[in-house]
């Protein structure tokens, strides 16, 4: 007998062989989101990601605060990449208010952003390691991350949520002897990163689990609109630091890391190689940075943006991160739209997981360089 169902609800006819699994939202392997996975035996038939469990309304909150008061809460979505998530906001507000940034401040911002990128990638690598059952790869990056956190603490005064970048420059100048200390710790990190090769990346167990799983072809990567390391692991040479250089990136010497394979291994290897490029950028920026000078252009109290709109994007640890800000002659922005890399990379998950073993799900899922809190904003 066909009963009348309430509107919006439909019955699903499911094969007896197919079982539905809810991975998350409280499962440690899913990270604040739910994956509705249908399995046939051990093979995934379909995967439906269900984000939104950590939605905080950052965009709406930004409409009630002025351009400076927005800084502390806008960096909350990715607290260990907080310089990079503030970077496009600062660039956008600077264009909106017509502020010039001092040359030294531009270099300091690049150093802060690259240190933060390393911190993010090491944290992500630690999680990737522990979800593949490799507890050494959890301990080592989590420990080595501490060195860069100490550097940013010396720069900004906070371990995470630095609130260091502001429209018009940075909050404070570098402390004394920062350059030497930074170079010493960057050298040490590079030495440590080389040790990761034998224990993790050249480890046959990791290779057998990740090589050839979740292959994303070059055309699919472009068609699905992925960004960041996922796009570069599929053989697309796209890095906003190269294609649309902001601040002083065009003066700095670095390469874009591109791999052709497009599998989980390549997606996890590209961020690792990018850390070496970040170290190169930091060294180059310290060499080219003006040794003294102003670091912040003072804003008027409660600055008003005109009737204008602006879009700025940067390359964050997870890919392109953009801010679209509309202002209407008021101290608060009229609308702030944050476009994040995590959400763009999430969309290829159903395509990648189809036909994979259920045991390979964490390897594919975390190789997407995905951060649930950022995707939900």
């Amino acid at each position: 007998m066909a009963t009348q169902l309430p509107p919006g609800i439909r019955l699903e006819t499911v094969d007896d062989r197919i079982m539905t699994l809810n991975v998350g939202p409280q499962h440690p392997g899913s990270g604040h989101m739910r994956l509705i996975i249908k399995v046939d035996g051990d093979y995934i038939v379909s995967c439906d990601p269900d984000p939104g469990y950590v939605h905080r309304g950052e965009e709406k909150m930004a409409e009630y605060r002025n351009y400076i008061q927005n800084i502390p809460h806008l960096e909350r979505p990715v607290i260990h990449d907080s310089s990079n998530i503030l970077y496009p906001y600062c660039l956008a507000v600077e264009e909106l208010l017509g502020i010039e940034v001092p040359e030294r401040a531009k270099y300091i911002r690049v150093i802060a952003a690259e240190l933060n990128r390393c911190i993010y990638i090491l944290y992500w690598l630690a999680i990737y390691g522990i979800f593949l059952g490799h507890s050494t790869m959890f301990m080592w990056p989590a420990g080595d991350r501490e060195l860069f956190i100490d550097l940013l603490e010396a720069m900004s005064g906070a371990r995470v949520t630095h609130a260091y970048l502001v429209p018009g420059g940075v909050r404070n100048d570098l402390p004394a002897n920062f350059e030497e200390r930074c170079l010493r710790q960057v050298d040490y990190l590079e030495k440590r990163l080389k040790e990761y090769l034998a224990v993790f990346y050249k480890n046959p167990i990791l290779i057998s689990r990740t090589e050839g799983t979740g292959i994303l072809s070059r055309t699919d990567a472009i068609r699905l609109g992925t960004t960041g390391s996922v796009l570069r692991a599929s053989g697309v040479n796209f890095d906003i630091r190269k294609k649309e250089p902001y601040d002083v990136y065009e003066n700095l010497d670095f390469e874009t890391v591109v791999m052709k394979e497009g599998d989980s291994y390549a997606r996890s290897y590209v961020p690792y190689l990018e850390m070496f490029e970040s170290c190169r950028i930091i060294r180059d920026a310290i060499r080219k940075m003006p040794k003294s000078g102003s670091v912040r252009t003072k804003l008027k109290p409660n600055p008003k943006g005109g009737n204008d709109e602006v879009y700025k994007r940067v390359e964050s640890g997870r890919g392109a991160l953009g801010y679209y800000i509309v202002s209407n002659n008021r101290p608060e922005p009229y609308r702030v739209k944050i476009s994040v890399g995590s959400f763009r990379n999430l969309i290829c998950m159903p395509y990648l997981l189809k036909g994979e073993l259920l045991g390979n799900m964490p390897a594919v899922y975390w190789s997407l360089n995905y951060w649930p809190v950022e995707a939900d904003r």
Partner: protein, 165 residues
């Protein structure tokens, strides 16, 4: 590279770490040294002085009760409220000074940027835990106390690796 060889190499690179000093900071016994005396503001350059953003310190002799720190905190944490004090300062006719609720403070330091009289700075004191919520509300008298700091451990990096102390 053969599978067995790769596993042996992986184990070997981990085993090497048995001989290396451990990196972990043993926190309550050891405390990390920070640069400077906390986040402060330099009136000459108009920007902050690098330092840890910990608990605030309030200089009663500079505070005029202008409430700009409280205004700056509105919409961020709303941790700063202005309270009456039983002190007479000639620059502070209203005799009001900030009181900070550390249950709400996010330590962004924008109140330090906002203070035009350099009365509110931040210190290296970050151990603010308490058993009650009310003990986290620091009155102007408590904020005036200079914290006693014993942070002296630094990271040492040599050929054998990095270690604390």
């Amino acid at each position: 590279m053969s599978t067995a060889g790769g596993i042996i190499r992986a184990l070997n690179s981990g085993v090497k770490h048995l001989a290396i000093r451990r990196f972990t900071l043993r926190y309550p016994e050891q405390k990390l040294k920070f640069v400077g005396d906390g986040f402060q503001f330099n009136p000459e350059t108009g920007v902050g002085i690098a330092g840890l953003r910990g608990r605030h310190i309030l200089y009663h002799e500079h505070c005029t009760g202008c409430q700009l720190c409280s205004v700056a905190c509105e919409g961020i944490a709303e941790a700063i409220g202005m309270v009456k004090v039983n002190e007479t300062w000639k620059q502070n006719k209203k005799a009001i000074m900030p009181q900070i609720d550390y249950g709400k403070c996010v330590f962004c330091g924008l109140c330090v940027d906002a203070c035009p009289f350099y009365a509110l700075y931040m210190t290296n004191d970050y151990e603010l835990s308490s058993f009650t919520k009310s003990a986290l509300i620091y009155t102007p008298a408590q904020l005036a106390i200079k914290p006693r700091i014993s942070q002296d451990v630094e990271i040492k990096i040599d050929d054998r690796g990095a270690a604390h102390g």
